[in-house]
């Protein structure tokens, strides 16, 4: 293997890890502030200017808290579960092109760790592996709330993986490739996939909420029903890893949606890169917006929505796309 390639990849991995760990922290700040403003509160104000250093205070708290392994838990699984959530969230980032290619000191940098030809499949697959975090964490804990949460996690993820996969199938048929770079290039020539596949866009967007466990489908860890679900018995940095995983997932899915449906970073100009960040920011904001406005659904409503509404729609969408492409 080429040495330069190796060094470049390692640098990219480190940069992505650092940037998105920090973003996950700042994401919690934005969530608190935006939720607070929407509910006519102020949010964090005391630590640092506008409460910006609240993230640091939370980090210090999480890192220095005692790492408690309760008596009746299955210790090895209990310990590994949060790592799965955080690790898979960051692994999924490997196939996401965050920026168009640019040149630094005469060296062309592709801001994607690995442009593999199954990019979107890899991203969704690894994100789906993240389900083992809540599932194993909940089942390894020794209380009913965690167990309920694990059962719900399994149900939610299995249902919504179907919708995610089927809704993305129609754009994949049109592009004819699974690489996210190819998705981007296809949209330079043919316009945004959003205009040709609006239904797939909406379905994928809805499924993204289940994929990240955000509010309309937050029943995996619904505070008012099952305490913190799988996180009930976790403390300190292990709980923090779940948190980082959730927020990193939100950021990555907010990148994936615009790349697949909204033209990605466009033709590679600086404007395109900024536009991608703008779109990402909107989708991240929408996660928070929805959390302020909408109630959570019950597990049975969620199943109903998935299997009786979204999945048939996705299948119909795929069939129609197939017919249109054939004739």
């Amino acid at each position: 293997m080429d040495m330069a390639y190796l060094i470049e990849t390692v640098i990219k991995v480190v940069v992505i890890l650092l940037v998105f760990s920090a973003l996950a922290g700042i994401g919690t700040y934005f969530e608190r502030k935006i939720l607070a403003f929407m509910q006519r509160r102020l949010g964090p104000t005391n630590v640092g200017p506008f409460g910006l250093l609240q993230v640091g205070a939370d980090g210090i708290k999480l890192f220095t808290k005692e790492d408690i392994i309760p008596t009746n838990v299955v210790a090895p699984i209990f310990k590994i579960a949060p790592v799965i959530t955080a690790a898979t969230a960051f692994m999924a980032a490997a196939a996401i092109p965050f920026l168009p290619a640019f040149t630094v000191f005469g060296y062309e940098v592709h801001p994607i760790v690995a442009d593999i030809n199954i990019g979107i499949l890899y991203v969704l697959g690894v994100m789906a592996v993240g389900l083992f975090g809540p599932l194993l964490g909940g089942m390894a804990s020794a209380n009913k709330f965690s167990l309920l949460s694990a059962a719900r996690a399994a149900a939610v993820f299995i249902s919504y993986e179907v919708v995610t996969g089927l809704s993305i199938l129609a754009p994949i048929m049109m592009v004819g490739s699974l690489s996210l770079i190819d998705f981007n290039n296809y949209q330079i020539e043919n316009g945004w996939i959003l205009w040709s596949q609006p239904l797939a866009f909406i379905l994928f967007w809805i499924a993204a909420f289940a994929e990240t466990g955000r509010t309309p489908f937050h029943l995996i860890a619904n505070d008012h029903e099952i305490i913190d679900g799988f996180g009930t018995e976790y403390s300190g940095m292990r709980w923090g890893l779940f948190f980082i995983g959730e927020y990193a997932n939100m950021f990555f899915i907010s990148f994936v949606i615009p790349i697949i449906f909204l033209g990605g970073f466009g033709d590679g100009s600086i404007f395109g890169a900024l536009a991608l960040f703008g779109k990402m920011a909107f989708f991240f904001f929408f996660f928070l917006w929805v959390r302020a406005a909408w109630p959570d659904v019950r597990p049975d409503q969620l199943m109903w929505l998935c299997w009786k509404v979204l999945m048939p729609l996705a299948v119909i969408n795929v069939v129609i796309t197939g017919f249109v492409m054939m004739f």
Partner: protein, 203 residues
């Protein structure tokens, strides 16, 4: 007043909310779902929270820096008042407050002084026990013990005593004519009449 005398509520702008019958068959349920989906009901909620964010009408009070004014009827830590005429203590040591205190948190000790008047030698209130019911202030024949507005009385112990000297109006405050009278249990908040609403009891 008239609007309360007229008890025929049906003509007063009240109307029945139009609630559709709950669908029983599959087709009805399907129609309801389609209606709800394409009427974009979810976006009403999104608009409401976005509107509140844009209006930025924040209701938070940054508590240690900002404080709400509290009403004159508020019953917080007790105060001992002085007489306006002579600046002497109002308390005559009758012991009624100690007697009536239902949580038994007032303890006082008195003696006969050289002018053969009763003088308070010890007077403590255990705020850990006090339930701030206001009986002591109500029973006091001299309006000596009253409630003040000092509500920041967090303590690191359950037993938290305040004594006579702590509660007594300082003599320099008294000289400056700055002693505040407790307006009592019937007192209303200033400008309350602007906010008060008529209730059906007004007739």
């Amino acid at each position: 007043m008239e609007q309360f005398n007229n008890r025929n509520v049906a003509d007063n702008g009240y109307f029945m909310v139009d609630i559709e019958d709950y669908p029983t068959d599959g087709w009805g349920k399907f129609k309801r779902i389609v209606q709800r989906t394409f009427r974009l009901e979810l976006f009403v909620g999104l608009w409401v929270v976005m509107r509140e964010m844009i209006k930025f009408d924040i209701h938070t009070i940054s508590y240690p820096q900002e404080k709400m004014p509290i009403g004159p009827r508020y019953r917080a830590v007790h105060e001992m008042k002085r007489l306006w005429e002579s600046d002497a203590e109002r308390c005559i040591g009758c012991g009624l407050c100690e007697k009536i205190c239902i949580s038994d948190c007032i303890r006082m000790d008195t003696k006969i002084d050289e002018e053969s008047r009763k003088e308070v030698t010890e007077y403590t209130i255990n705020l850990g026990r006090c339930i701030f019911c206001g009986y002591c202030a109500e029973v006091c024949p001299e309006l000596a013990i009253t409630h003040g507005g000092e509500y920041e009385n967090a303590s690191d112990q359950r037993e938290h005593f305040v004594d006579y000297d702590y509660m007594l109006t300082p003599i320099d405050v008294m000289k400056a004519n700055a002693q505040k009278e407790f307006e009592g249990f019937g007192a209303i908040t200033p400008h309350e009449d602007e906010r008060v609403k008529k209730t059906p009891l007004s007739y």
